[in-house]
Each structure stands twice: as C-alpha cells, then as structure tokens.
C-alpha cells in the first residue's frame, strides 16, 4: 500500500529526516513513535503533501507519489496535529467542503455527515460556527472529515489530543473497523497505551531515522519487555544502529 524509502528532509542546516524507510500493507495500522523533534510530523507532512521531500521516494499502491499527484491524493486523508479549521464555516459546512474537495459523491454526503456527527457525539454543534467549538470538538470534526472521505491511507498526527476517553474508545473501535475493510493507517503519537492497543506494527523514530520497527508483539518479546512503555524507553535511550525485527 505505502512504501517509503530513504526519505530525507532538511530545514536550513537542520536535518529533520536523515533516512526514513518503512512499508505499510493494506488494512495495517502502523504507529510511528518517537521523542519530540524526532521527525514524526515531518514524515506525515511529506506524505500529506504539505512538505516536499529533499530525497528518497514514496509509492502508494505501486504509483510514485508526489505533491501534485491529485489522483493519489484522493486516496489519502490527513489529520494534522493541531485543529486547523476554517473558523467561519459551520461544522456541517466544513465537512461538506472537505468532501467536495475529495469529490465524494453527492448521494453519500448526507449519510456520512449524519453518521459522524452522531458517532462522535457532537450533533448539537452541527450548525454552529467552528470558531465557537471547544478544542475537543474541533478535533472531532478534523477526525470526522478525514474518515468521511473513506481514504485508502489515513495519516493521523496525535489524533486523540483533547478527545474525551469515551469518544476516544469509539475512535479506536472505528479505526480497527476501517482497517479491517482495507484502509491502511499511519499514525504518530506519544500516547504509548494507544499505540499498544491499536497498532499491529510500530516504528520508533529518533534523530531523523527509524531506529527500530516491526511487529509489536514480536518486538516486545525479543526485548523481554512486558509493556510498550518499557520497550520504548529502553530503545530510545540506547538508540544506535537501525534494527529490523
């Protein structure tokens, strides 16, 4: 589904990504973990088309991906780490606007709007301007619009920030459900328990490189750790040569 090879990106003299490579199969949920400034958001932004890579390659469903490949972009949806929204649109208008951009057929829009406003429990804010939303409600809208376009590849950057635990649980269930229907999910997070709950594979990124990646259960077994938290600390603190499990 997604193949990232030797992805590189610099901001001036600072190398944000030195060499990032990983693959993602259809229906797989892959967690990108790592300390602040390690390169998680930069990787996701390149995949979302917000940044241009300095080197390396990305293929999606066998096709080379670049910022102007609109046909491929139709299959990718992105949830940024901050709730960037048009404050002067209502929630419903925002969702419709986003579906318009992704050319979602008219007949399915109403149904998806109804579903996500109900599912994430913010139906009463449907006709409210986004500027009056709380941080959590804005995040719900961001997640809803990304899910509403039914992407093949879903990019999530810290998706559960400001979300209450009940809705968070619903989101995780929905994530598993869409993955079972073939959507590949790549998400960056600091919440290790979340990664442990939903990811089948993880990659730990530090200093612009993937230092370890593979099947979550196998990685923890190899490291002799009972929790992802312990495994993560051990890996990040002692990071050296990239490893593959």
């Amino acid at each position: 589904m997604l193949e990232v090879t030797d992805l590189r990106k610099s901001f001036g003299a600072r190398e944000a990504l030195k060499s990032v490579s990983f693959t993602l199969a259809p229906g797989e949920i892959y967690g990108l973990l790592g300390p602040n400034g390690a390169g998680k958001t930069t990787t996701l932004k390149i995949l979302a088309g917000l940044l241009a890579a300095d080197g390396g390659s990305v293929t999606v469903e066998g096709e080379t991906y670049h910022r102007e490949n609109h046909e491929l972009k139709k299959r990718i949806a992105y949830v940024p780490d901050q709730p960037f929204l048009y404050y002067k649109l209502t929630g419903e208008e925002h969702l419709n606007f986003f579906m318009d951009l992704y050319r979602v057929p008219y007949a399915r829009r109403r149904e998806r709007c109804d579903f996500y406003f109900r599912y994430f429990e913010f139906e009463e804010y449907r006709s409210e301007l986004v500027e009056n939303y709380s941080a959590g409600t804005r995040q719900k809208l961001l997640i809803s619009q990304a899910l509403a376009v039914e992407p093949k590849l879903l990019l999530l950057d810290e998706p559960l920030v400001s979300i209450d635990p009940l809705v968070g649980r619903k989101f995780k269930m929905h994530l598993r459900e869409i993955a079972s229907r073939g959507t590949a999910v790549l998400f960056a997070t600091h919440i290790l328990t979340l990664a442990q709950e939903v990811c089948r594979r993880i990659g730990v990124i530090a200093d612009g490189r993937i230092i370890v990646q593979g099947d979550l259960a196998r990685l923890m077994e190899m490291a002799g750790q009972g929790s992802l938290e312990e495994f993560y600390f051990q890996t990040v603190l002692a990071h050296g040569e990239p490893a593959e499990a």
Binding site: L50, L51, E68, Y87, T90, F97, D100
Partner: protein
C-alpha cells in the same frame, strides 16, 4: 506589573531583532511623512489665524479654540470607540487572559495591567494625530515653556478621560450582549461613523472657504458651533483649557483641569467598583461559549466545476468576517466623495476638463490599489492555518491560485470601470478619454491585483492575528510602496499621449493617431511583461509552498 511590562518589552525587542528592523524603519518613515504633511497643514492654518491683521487678539483665540474643538470632537469620538473596542478585546477575548488568571498575580494588578494595555492601544492614534495640532498651536499661540506644559497636561487628562470612559462602557457591554458577536458589530458601526464623517466633511464644501468673500460664512459656521451643550464634553474642556493657557488666564485654566481630574477620578472609582462586583462574572459568562444558534445554509450538490467548493468557501468566510467586508463601507464613502468632487470642484476654464478627467482616472486606480492592499493582499495569509486542508487534499493548487486571482480581479474590475462610468456621467468624457479609460485601467487593475496576490503569498504567513497585522508586514509595506511607484510611473508614461492629443486639438492640427497608438501599445507591452512576471512568481511561490 513590572514582570508583565518586562515581558512586553522583551517581545518588542525580539520582534525588532528578528527581521522587524526594516519594517520598523519603513513605518517610521511613513509616520514621519504623514506627520510632516499634517504638521504643514495645521501650521499654515494656525499661522493664518495668529497673523490675520483684520481680527482682534480675542477673536483669533476664539477662532483657534473653535477649530481645536472640531478637531478634538473627532478625536474624542475615535478615542471612545477605539477604547471600547480594545476593552472588549483586551479584557474579555485576549489569549493571555487565561494564562494571567492562572498565575498568582492579584486580580487588581492584572486588571491594572489590562487597563494600561487598553490605554496604550486605543490612545496611540489620537496621540499621533494630535502631535502636529499641539505643536502648531503651541508655536503660534502658547510658545512659553509654562504654556506648553499646561497644554500638555490638559491633553493628557483629556486622553485619560476618553480612555476611562471607553473602558467603562466596554465593561458594561458584556452584561447585556455577547462580546464575540458584538465586537464585529461595533467595528462596523465605527466604520460607518468614520465613513459618515468623511462624507459629511466633503459635503461642507471646504473649498468655498478659500474664497475671501466667504470668510463671513466661515465665522458664521464657527459661531454656530458655539452651543452650550458642547461645553459639557471633555473635547470642549480641552479646547478651552488650551485657549486659557494661551491667553494667560490661569484661574480659568485650572478650573478646566479640575473638571478633567474630577471626571477621571469618578470614572476610575466606577471602574474599581465594576472590577470588584462584575468583571469576573462577565468574563466567565463570556467564556461559556455560544448557544448554537447558527443555521447551516450549505447546500451540497454535484460538482459542476472543480472550483465551486472553494468559491463557496471564499464567499462564506468573507461575508462572515465583518472586519473584512465592513471596509467596503469606507470604499463607499470614498466613492461618494469622488462623485461629489467631480460635481463640485469649479473648473476655471473648459480646457482644464481634460486634466480633471485624467486625474479622476488616476484616482480610480489609486482606489483600486487601496482595495487590493486590504483584500487581495490579505487573502492568502487570511486563509489561515485551514490551508493545510487545501494542500493535503487532491485539489489543484494552481487552480486555487487562479481562483484567488479571479475572485478579487472581477469585482475590482467592476469597481474601477464603475468609477470611470461615474466620471463619464458627471464630466461627460470626450471620445479620447473613453478610449483612454480602458487602456489605462484594464492593465493597471490586473497588475495591481497580481502584485498584491504575489506579495501576499510571499509573506508566508499562515496564522495572522488579523488582516491589519498582515498589512504592516514587510511585504505589505512593499506592496504599498510599489503600487504607488507603479501608479505614478503609469501616469507619467501616459501623460505623453494625453498631452499629444490635447496639444494637437488646441493647435487644430490632425491628431497623431500613430504616435498615440504606439504609446498605448508600449504601455500594454510593459504591463503584460510585468503581469506575466509577477503571475508566474506568485504561482511558483504558491505551488512550492511548504506548511
């Protein structure tokens, strides 16, 4: 309080150190230019009043006092409105309030700090506008050091009273209305007020006062302002205090100062009471959020064109941001003044008509340059962080760029040709001017819009605080300078064919059509090159933009 002041100063220093220096110097230059022009005007006015042989000394002081009263009436209205609006923002909406309230800073200090902030924000323009008035008045009427000190003291008390009255009103407003909805409405009201003042001043027809025979009218006009009700307001106290200081009437001066001090003390007392009894309650009420009363008017339908959703989004966000569209009211006032100018300015000779018509076309292009700086220039930065969705979605970025251009270009074209048509209706253009109007206006509007869009993208701003914030960026100031240089350059370039035409008309020879056509073609060729250059540069910047 000292820590908060240090914080502000450090923020200013950092902004200055990180690329703000050039911008600061440019702003300083513009301000100095503005002060010089205003200073020259008031200096001439007060010099005339002080030096007029036909008036007795008392009448000179009286006339100067009336003039000051008119000036400070306007400034007092500005002060009141701007401090009212600043209060709503600084005391209720400002982002740092939650932070301030979470620190162990006593409420009293936080309140005093916010009061100082409001005073600084709302009085800066009034102080700026007053500098040339005060200095000119002191130069001609109150030159002694003691007199200058007296004038300054009265002015400072006037500003304090205006700010305190505005803050008091601003404190009461949230008790009755929603601040988030009221603030834009008040902004629009203040703009309507300013627009009305602009049209009113024009309707007074000040040009008639240039006629020596009309001086009686001037005196009668000023006399009509001598209403008892006006003496109850601080602007009148200030004018009188300045007049007393100039006339050496010490007792009367201190009486005016006492009035100021009493009013300020009363307002401060009331504010203290509001702080204790009401402020936190209103702040909490304000931050509970909206009730969800907005109705959705979005009607999703099949996409006839790729750009339809973007166009709809542009229209909705524009109409729902009063800070944006309310500026159109000012444009309306400018257009009204533009039409009145054409109808009222007496032409000394029919041959001057051609020059006036040409000046009116230039004025139309100046208005378009101004509109572009407010709307087109701010359109991309004003998109805000939401543009993440445009860049991450499968929509064609080049098409978005073209849409942005078209969205502003078409209405601006309508305004420009509308102004030209109004000129034609009032001045009756000749055949040559009817040809000149599109030759001049069409490329000028396209170029100015493309330039504004390109420089707007070059700001690389994705989260501006407000459109005003973007306009004073380095690129905003660059746009203002380059657009003015462009307009002046165009005027000088086209002056040649205009002069050629009217010269041959005067000498009754055949009009040199070939030469005029060559000049017009040259003007279009230069514009086409400039437009292509800036269009491509803007497109490149937009498509390669990284978020």
């Amino acid at each position: 309080m000292a820590s908060l002041l240090k914080l502000k100063l450090r923020q200013l220093r950092n902004a200055f150190a990180r690329g703000g220096r050039g911008k600061f110097l440019l702003l300083l230059l513009l301000a100095a230019f503005f002060l010089l022009v205003l200073g020259f005007f008031f200096n001439r006015l007060f010099a005339y009043l002080a030096g007029a042989q036909e008036f007795p000394a008392a009448l000179k002081l009286f006339l100067a006092e009336k003039l000051l009263m008119m000036v400070y009436l306007t400034l007092f209205a500005m002060l009141l409105l701007s401090s009212l609006l600043s209060t709503l923002d600084v005391f209720f909406i400002s982002r740092d309030l939650l932070f301030l309230f979470s620190t162990p800073l006593p409420l009293r200090s936080a309140f005093a700090w916010k009061l100082a902030e409001t005073a600084a924000y709302s009085s800066s323009m009034v102080v700026f506008f007053s500098l040339p008035v005060l200095s000119s008045y002191c130069r001609w009427f109150a030159p002694g050091a003691g007199q200058v000190a007296q004038v300054l003291l009265a002015f400072l008390l006037f500003v304090a009273c205006g700010v305190l009255a505005g803050v008091l009103l601003g404190m009461l407003v949230p008790a009755f209305f929603s601040v988030r909805r009221l603030q834009p409405v008040l902004s629009v009201l203040s703009i309507i007020l300013i627009s009305s003042v602009v049209v009113f001043m024009r309707l007074l027809r000040p040009e008639r006062f240039l006629e020596p025979g009309e001086i009686e009218d001037v005196l009668r006009f000023m006399g009509s302002l001598d209403m008892r009700a006006l003496y109850s307001f601080p602007f009148s106290w200030l004018a009188r205090a300045m007049s007393h200081a100039a006339g050496g009437r010490s007792a009367a001066y201190w009486k005016s100062v006492a009035l100021f001090v009493l009013l300020a003390a009363l307002l401060l007392g009331l504010l203290g009471l509001l702080r204790r009894r009401l402020y936190l309650k209103l702040f909490d009420k304000m931050n509970r959020g909206g009730s969800g009363a907005y109705a959705s008017r979005w009607r999703p339908h099949r996409l006839a064109a790729d750009m339809r959703p973007l166009l709809r989004k542009e229209r909705k966000t524009f109409l729902r941001t009063p800070a944006q569209w309310s500026q159109l009211l000012i444009v309306g006032a400018l257009v009204a003044v533009f039409v009145i100018n054409m109808k009222m300015i007496p032409l000394p000779h029919p041959s001057v008509r051609g020059v006036v018509i040409y000046l009116n076309l230039i004025m139309a292009v100046f208005i378009i340059a101004g509109l572009n700086s407010r709307f087109t220039f701010t359109s991309v930065p004003g998109e805000g962080p939401g543009q993440v969705h445009l860049f991450a979605s499968p929509c064609d970025k080049a098409a978005v760029y073209r849409l942005k251009l078209g969205f502003h270009l078409l209405p601006l074209m309508l305004v420009a040709f509308g102004l030209a048509a109004l000129g034609d209706l009032t001045l009756h253009f000749d055949r040559f001017t009817r040809l000149l109007a599109p030759v001049f206006i069409l490329p000028a509007v396209v170029f100015l819009t493309v330039l504004a869009l390109e420089l707007g993208i070059a700001t690389n701003e994705t989260n501006p605080l407000s459109p005003e914030h973007v306009i004073v960026s380095k690129q905003g100031i660059a746009y203002m300078l380059w657009s003015m240089i462009y307009v002046v350059g165009s005027v000088l370039f086209l002056a040649r064919p205009v002069v050629l035409y009217y010269w041959w008309q005067v000498t009754r020879h055949a009009v040199p059509v070939g030469k005029i056509t060559a000049w017009f073609a040259g003007y279009w060729a230069i514009n086409a090159a400039l437009i292509a250059f800036f269009y491509r540069r803007g497109l490149r910047l937009w498509v390669n933009r990284e978020l």
